[in-house]
């Protein structure tokens, strides 16, 4: 089953083309990484696919719903963790979970289940009573990602989830993301090559709003003649000019 299908997806901001003619299919349960340097169009793609930004042209189906015609139904099937930490800083971790669940329309009984679920996946029970704003950066990011799981989305967008985290916090978050594989479709945007290498089923490479490559790591190595994601990525985005 296809979780996401885009056809000619395009976004323009005044005279800048942020995403150009994106054609892509992502299967259910897949962990798909979008790689690209800053300004490649990764975040704009996530915003269009999650119904936060209306495409200038083209369309995308997410869980069978059009992002242009049925953005509310798309939002009911997905959730997003943006690259900035998005938490209520003066609420405790427990209150953040309860608040976000209530905003998703969950009942009191469901909210108690949500807390148990989030605690079990992210181990947040040890900091449940602490104010979110007082937590370390790693815990704040964990909470921010955890909130996106409350709605049990079919498709989860993780936009630069480990940006700014230290290596230990990053590895912990990788472990959690790995546990999600197969349970939901995960779209991960990152510019950390080792992150894409460690987590992805398939990788898409974007540059200047265009999708230059889609495939598995092995296909990436085969098409570029390189032996790791970083070298293969550089080969794809520079067209081999860097080596020359």
């Amino acid at each position: 089953m296809t979780a996401i299908r885009t056809e000619g997806l395009r976004k323009e901001y005044k005279d800048v083309v942020a995403v150009e003619g994106l054609d892509l299919e992502i299967e259910e349960g897949e962990l798909f990484s979008l790689l690209g340097v800053n300004g490649a169009g990764k975040t704009t793609t996530v915003k269009m696919l999650s119904g936060l930004t209306v495409p200038t042209a083209g369309d995308a189906e997410v869980c069978g719903f059009s992002v242009v015609k049925e953005p509310d139904r798309v939002k009911g099937s997905i959730d997003v963790s943006m690259q900035e930490t998005a938490i209520a800083r003066k609420l405790t971790v427990e209150e953040n979970i309860a608040f976000y669940a209530a905003m998703r329309g969950h009942s009191k009984e469901q909210i108690e289940e949500d807390k148990k679920y989030v605690y079990s996946v992210f181990g947040l029970d040890s900091v449940a009573k602490r104010y979110a704003g007082k937590l370390s950066g790693g815990w704040q990011r964990k909470l921010s990602v955890a909130l996106a799981l409350i709605s049990r989305p079919k498709v989860l967008f993780l936009d630069e989830p480990t940006l700014g985290l230290d290596v230990i916090a990053r590895r912990e978050l990788w472990r959690t993301i790995r546990e999600l594989k197969g349970k939901m479709t995960v779209i991960l945007t990152t510019h950390y090559m080792e992150e894409a290498e460690a987590l992805s089923d398939r990788i898409g490479v974007m540059k200047d709003g265009k999708l230059l490559f889609v495939g598995t790591q092995e296909e990436m190595y085969a098409s570029t003649g390189k032996g790791n994601v970083e070298e293969a990525f550089i080969e794809i985005v520079t067209g081999g000019e860097r080596d020359a």
Binding site: L52, D72, K75, E84, T85, A86, M103
Partner: protein, 251 residues
């Protein structure tokens, strides 16, 4: 009630954000309270402006002007982080956000009103009476003016610029309300301006509701209508600004 559950959940979060910020409590509660007590004891024998019957209603409206600052700051901070983006993914509507911000400030303004009248009454028991009860619903009306302005400015200003813009409102309430000085000595043009703006009218609404005197139409109804007009205008502007930000997704 389920229909409004997102609004109330959002309002509950907003109340917690406000009351857990000691700075907001200092400016919305402690500073006006200190001014009420100090100005009464220092100046009440010098000028009628600082007799408790005039001072307490003025302080209530002055304290409400800080609602513009803290409502605006909360919205600007929410917009500046990815917090509102996250909530837009929840499918919450702009009306639920606007009411959520506004409802959160109602308990604050009720505490301000009751506290400043209570303390005023303890200092000068002559102000205790039915007038205080009249003041409570009218305080809700005047607070909506400042809440509406807070939502409006918070929707269009950044977290860096909201402080300056909201300070202009606080200064305007202080200077153009006539609460700190008699307006008789001012030029007729200045007095006309003050009568056209909501700040003096909001203060007059509270003062006359407390005292109960004056012409029922000219001195009671007209200021209420002027304040109401500004409340409607500020909320229409706030809804328009917030919705246009949400539509453009440029939050």
């Amino acid at each position: 009630m389920r229909k409004f559950s997102k609004t109330f959940a959002f309002a509950k979060r907003n109340i917690k954000e406000i009351v857990r910020d000691p700075i907001s409590l200092i400016f919305m509660i402690l500073l006006p309270l200190a001014l009420e007590v100090l100005f009464y004891f220092i100046f009440h024998k010098l000028t009628a402006q600082f007799e408790m019957a005039n001072l307490a209603p003025g302080i209530v409206v002055f304290s409400q002007s800080f609602l513009t600052l803290f409502t605006g700051l909360l919205i600007a901070l929410d917009r500046g982080s990815a917090f509102l983006t996250r909530l837009f993914v929840c499918g919450a509507r702009s009306s639920e956000f606007i009411f959520g911000y506004a409802i959160a400030m109602i308990p604050v303004t009720l505490v301000q009103t009751v506290l400043f009248f209570l303390v005023g009454g303890i200092i000068d028991p002559s102000i205790f009476g039915v007038g205080m009860l009249r003041c409570i619903p009218l305080a809700l009306l005047t607070s909506l003016l400042f809440i509406g302005l807070g939502i409006l400015f918070g929707s269009v200003c950044s977290e860096k610029s909201i402080g300056g813009v909201a300070s202009a409102v606080i200064t305007a309430q202080s200077v153009l309300s006539g609460m700190w000085f008699p307006i008789e000595g001012l030029s007729s043009g200045m007095v006309t301006l003050m009568k056209c703006l909501p700040f003096k009218n909001a203060t007059d609404v509270m003062r006359l509701a407390l005292s109960g005197g004056g012409d029922p139409v000219k001195e009671h109804l007209v200021p209420i209508l002027i304040v109401t007009a500004y409340v409607v205008a500020s909320f229409v502007g706030a809804i328009f600004a917030f919705r246009s930000k949400m539509r453009s997704k440029n939050i």
